[in-house]
Symmetry: C2
Subunit: 336 residues, 2 copies
DNA sequence: CGGTTTCTTGTAACCGGTTACAAGACGGCT
DNA sequence: AGCCGTCTTGTAACCGGTTACAAGAAACCG
């Protein structure tokens, strides 16, 4: 035996110490009403003496309920995910649930393994996987585990879903930029295969066409650095531009910083806009115009739905949330 | 019976289906070598047919090991915690561990309950509680559960600890500001009762005294708004100031924004400095001078230590990490 | 061919709780 | 006193895995 100590007291130890049955100890700890005060006192004393703490794992097994929720995210970089997690945590704490983190690093085989590992560990799953096909993902999972999907691609499993209307949001942003007098509006796209990126790109293209303007799309992958690179590319290729609409705020900020370094005036010469309204968007200078998705709230609602689902209540199959335009300095009217 | 479905297949179902014993099924799933290929094939086929996924909870109970690590944080606001969490997640994934989140909202009674709830759910704990007395916290917990403390107050429990040398960092920052020619250096403090805030405040006061300068301390509580308020207070009270050293970056940024709104030139009239080097510090304009703590790395090392501890290896009792000065535009030499 | 070793497989106890069920204690009633 | 209902308490099965141990089969040996 290692030096790990004598192991912790179990419910049977307490029962022996208090000279009662395990059932009684269980009743005391679960605050069931039908237990004589004198006996209750004896049990509590014994538990204190042995420094007994109930073993949650054993409890979970016998009750077939863990009180935990599995959160499967593609990544943890940036404020987007931390905001989402914050919202989830708030709601979960409110409902006496824990959050079990698991990120699936792009690779689907790994993702499936991650999901299977959750069985018996959590009561339900929140899955945010804008970058992968969910049919593949859920195919290897028993269908009875409750799950709520956040910003995922279409799925045939009929699971409840929360989504942001990215197409409409992107359209609205283009219209705003046009209203500000911009014409040469360039879009920096998100990573390939990401459904949110694709939707925003589509909204952009549609709105540009509707306005009779020529769409110009540069590649990106949602991080600051790719926003920077896009601007460098614009300069190198001498592309005419009076507005940049990035598919998310981090890229917009990268673009902003790059433009600042190049001495280009924002919004004087070029307007910049993003998407998500991460906390940073308000703090950066100039303030970043963006489409507000209440990220934390979305996470919270996801948890909310999932808990309802776990408790067997009916939940709406799908909710499409409309993002709202937040106008800040970075898209002020151009001198006209 | 509710409409929850017929429940999932268990190891016994698979055993029956494949006409073998549960032990054999277990051996197949745990990849033990001593099982005849033909039998292995039969088990795998049965498992596929029943869509069997092992129940992690049951496994954990019988092996007395969960593969999960409990992370107890005081809050989830702001980039500091999300960076820390990101670092932890990275390291945990590397070591095939899950993270179970739990934040203790300031209240110690609640905190104790949160810790107790972790027994049987996790193999060990990472505790970051700069704002509460750990003796109280751990007194109600069996001492045998492994735990690593991050930036905590002194504790008599002799648990491994990781800490940032906040006093030295604050001193270094004051010296830097003095070197830049600043004399009227005001400190915006963190919340009362927070050990990190107290240490930074102490470092500030010591360094000011050493430089023969008069310390001036304003209250704050680590959020942006309190940085803003401190600046308003400075203006209202007509306090003479040519540098503001906030106890963390978020307050420094609040101060920066407030000064910007007031038309005060940074760093021309007033230098601003923070502490932590959150990602935002680099992006804001002017760039924020700050003390760099590699937050994500610290989280990762915490996990690393904890895993070693769980595995019964020896780990150093305490590590004091030195933060590094990052000079950005917000503290450029004043015109002299 | 019998004895020993090695490999495969199954039986049943165990992890630490919960809980259905039964039995005993007690009080109130006729 | 006898009967019944209510309240308290204990016994033992169960949740779904792992694993010590034993037994049977196969291989190897002299």
């Amino acid at each position: 035996m290692t030096g790990k100590g004598i192991g912790q007291a179990t419910i049977r130890d307490v029962a022996r110490e208090a000279d009662v049955s395990v059932a009684s100890v269980s009743r005391v700890f679960n605050r069931l009403p039908n237990v004589r005060p004198e006996l209750k006192e004896r049990v509590e004393q014994a538990a204190r003496k042995l420094n007994y703490v109930p073993h949650a794992g054993a409890r979970n097994l016998s009750m077939a309920r863990t009180g935990a929720i599995g959160v499967v995210l593609p990544d943890l970089h940036g404020e987007f995910f931390s905001e989402m997690l914050r919202g989830m945590e708030r709601e979960a704490a409110l409902r006496q649930r824990h959050l079990l983190l698991s990120n699936m690093h792009l690779d689907i085989g790994h993702g499936i393994e991650a999901l299977r590992n959750m069985r018996g560990r959590v009561d339900g799953l929140i899955v945010m996987a804008p970058h992968m096909n969910l049919d593949d993902l859920f195919a290897h999972l028993p269908p009875s585990i409750p799950a709520v999907l956040l910003n995922c691609q279409d799925n045939g499993q009929g699971r409840p879903e929360l989504r942001v209307d990215n197409v409409a949001g992107a359209r609205a942003m283009v219209r705003h930029l046009v209203d500000c007098g911009r014409r040469a509006i360039v879009h920096i796209e998100g990573p390939a295969g990401n459904i949110e990126a694709a939707d925003r790109s589509r909204g952009y293209a549609e709105a540009m066409e509707a306005a009779g303007l020529q769409p110009v799309i540069l590649p990106g992958n949602f991080d600051e650095e790719s926003g920077r690179r896009a601007v460098a590319r614009l300069q190198a290729d001498q592309i005419d531009v009076d507005a940049i609409f990035a598919a998310n705020d981090m890229m917009a900020i990268g673009a902003l910083v790059a433009l600042r370094d190049m001495g280009v005036d924002v919004p004087g010469q070029v307007a910049v806009a993003g998407f998500d309204n991460i906390p940073l968007a308000r703090l950066i200078s100039p303030g970043l115009t963006t489409m507000a998705v209440d990220i934390a709230d979305m996470g919270a609602r996801g948890i909310n739905r999932l808990v309802a689902l776990i408790d067997g209540e009916a939940v709406p199959q799908m909710e499409l949330r409309q993002p709202g335009l937040i106008i800040r300095t970075s898209s002020q009217l151009s001198a006209a």
